[in-house]
Subunit: 162 residues, 2 copies
């Protein structure tokens, strides 16, 4: 797809996060399975359901801007997930692996915070008010997921691993 305007760039980035969210839906079950700490396991399970809702919300956003939901290969999220899976397979100690997975999940959240922050700004500028509102809902969910991981890390994951 040729990108010639901010509208094109907005749609391109929507497709990028749509691809990313679906990769995350695929990655989270094995992270939940491998998590040893019950709180971390629960966080991953809850975030899996939340992410499925974010995929649905993106599909609604595509509809609002008269585009078909379609993914655009996103090397960034592929790299972040590849790094996570490599680390998960390399660490035998359960507490250390939990700390690594929580940190990796925060890298994923921050990627999404950056992208949704951009998408909200562009949607507003382009006059897509309803789309901007929906994207802002997801942005808040991602920030909250990141904050929960920080708290879980501070409260025990890192202490268990130290």
């Amino acid at each position: 797809m040729a990108i010639k305007s901010l509208q094109d760039l907005f749609v391109h980035t929507l497709k990028d996060v749509y691809f990313a969210e679906r990769q995350i839906v695929k990655a989270l079950p094995s992270m939940a399975e491998k998590a040893s700490d019950s709180e971390l396991k629960k966080l991953f399970q809850t975030h899996l359901e939340e992410t499925k809702g974010q995929v649905d919300r993106l599909e609604a956003v595509f509809g609002l801007v008269n585009e078909r939901p379609e993914g655009e290969k996103c090397p960034a999220i592929e790299g972040i997930i590849a790094e996570t899976e490599e680390l998960m397979s390399e660490i035998d100690d359960a507490d250390t692996r939990d700390a690594a997975m929580a940190a990796a999940a925060q890298a994923v959240e921050h990627y999404e915070i950056a992208r949704y922050g951009t998408l909200v700004a562009w949607a507003e500028l382009l006059g897509h008010k309803d789309a901007a509102k929906k994207l802002a809902e997801t942005l808040e969910e991602e920030k909250s997921a990141d904050a929960k991981l920080t708290r879980a890390g501070q409260r025990k994951l890192n202490q268990q691993a130290a």
Copy 2:
């Protein structure tokens, strides 16, 4: 390197960001060159100098924890940079490309914010007080770079592209 403890994971992650920072040092000159808006160009140039300082600071952190500065291939940053370069080459319109580059740079900043946030927490937990202090300095620089990009985007880049 086998990862068996939080200390190992900390050193592994240091190597990951050391690799990442050096990739960013390589990527920023062409972003600065391609930026059409003079403010964005200046932001990239300034951040290049700041990033070189962050590489030096990481080398000092390696010294503080008795490790040799060494990079560990980081697929996450490679993916983020590959995506940026692909977009830069695909967009002919200068204002749209500026908006895309500013957004891509924010994805890079957020990756680093996630990683340095984790590194500061782990350094404190492991008793590496001086290392934690240095890592926190970089964390603040990355947050500030991200905020500057947000302001530049709001003030004019996105408007120019819309």
